[in-house]
Amino acid sequence: MSKIIAIHSFRGGTGKSNTTANLAVLIARAGNRVGIVDTDIHSPGIHVIFGRRPESFTHTLNDYLHGNCSIKQAAYDVTESSIGTVGPDDERPRIFLIPSSIQVGEIARILREGYDVALLNDGFQDLLRDLNLDYLLIDTHPGVNEETLLSIAISNAFVLIMRPDSQDFQGTAVTVELARRLDVERIMVIVNKIPNSMDRELLREQVESGYRATVAGMLPLCNEMAELASSGLFVNGHRDHPLTLELARIADQIMH
């Protein structure tokens, strides 16, 4: 059965897009067909991590929402660049990216005109069916709005990413409670960018007791990720790094 995984954070800068991209690769490598939709229309960027230039996109999610194309036409097979060479007829693993437009005019237009949020849900269902996806990862816009609430509501698993930061802590609690009221099947919290000096178990305990939700992973703050600067996929170049190993544990929880 296909699963929709909404990946969200209350504030920007939590490492949501990098975490989404790297989890997608790990899930795909486990033998799955994975789609990633960048619904952060206000500030898209996950395509950068996959090494795709915006001019290579004939269609984007924006075009679909404006009724100019099917959502399948806005999906790009990024398997080779993110996993490596896979036989052209191999059904698995596969990764598809559905990017949002970075053109300022397009962003301004969608902010000005809005879009039918229900169309977004239709698009997700079309992707699952037309691309025969095992997992659809939704990289959401930070904060709570209609689009993020929809993504939360329709997800099979809702992944919240936060930093060990007081500003994140309160806002993330709000989002967890909203997800609970929307009867989301699974709520998983990831604490990201944890300095080495912090007591991880104490952090975990605070998050789990404060939110009454599962902490799926505790990701360290690491120089190598900062130095990569979203120019590529961390898990490919750092296969034995503690960050990669923890991401793999999170991916495993998502798949089981």
Partner: protein, 114 residues
């Protein structure tokens, strides 16, 4: 009175008196010999307290006997009243209410087709 701290031959010990309990590492305790760095919580939603025996680098000042904490792990305080207010504000909104009602419809709605 929630708990008492008693000095024994083995060191300081916390003895829980309140029905709301004291929690360490997610588990309820009744009595615990404290060690440097131990963190416990008064009730499952109450304040966090860290027990330290290390001599502070700086004198915390007369009267500031419980304000010193050199740990680099912050203790996050959740404002439950603010949480309830913010959740209510969103959850009582029209979109959220409709989304809750329409969830079954949205999940079973046929896709628009490519």
């Amino acid at each position: 009175m929630h708990a008492t701290l008693n000095h024994t031959d083995e060191g300081w010990e916390i003895l829980v008196l309140s029905r709301n309990g004291v929690f360490m590492k997610g588990k309820r305790i009744e009595q615990q010999l404290l060690q440097d760095g131990h963190v416990f919580r008064l009730s499952d939603r109450g304040p966090w307290i860290r027990y330290r025996t290390e001599t502070p680098a700086e004198d915390p000042g007369g009267g500031a006997t419980i304000s010193f904490d050199s740990s680099k792990t912050p203790i996050f305080a959740l404002d439950l009243q603010q949480l309830d207010r913010e959740v209510k504000q969103i959850a009582d909104g029209q979109y959220f209410q409709e989304l809750q009602k329409r969830m079954t419809q949205l999940r079973s709605r046929p896709a628009s087709g490519s």
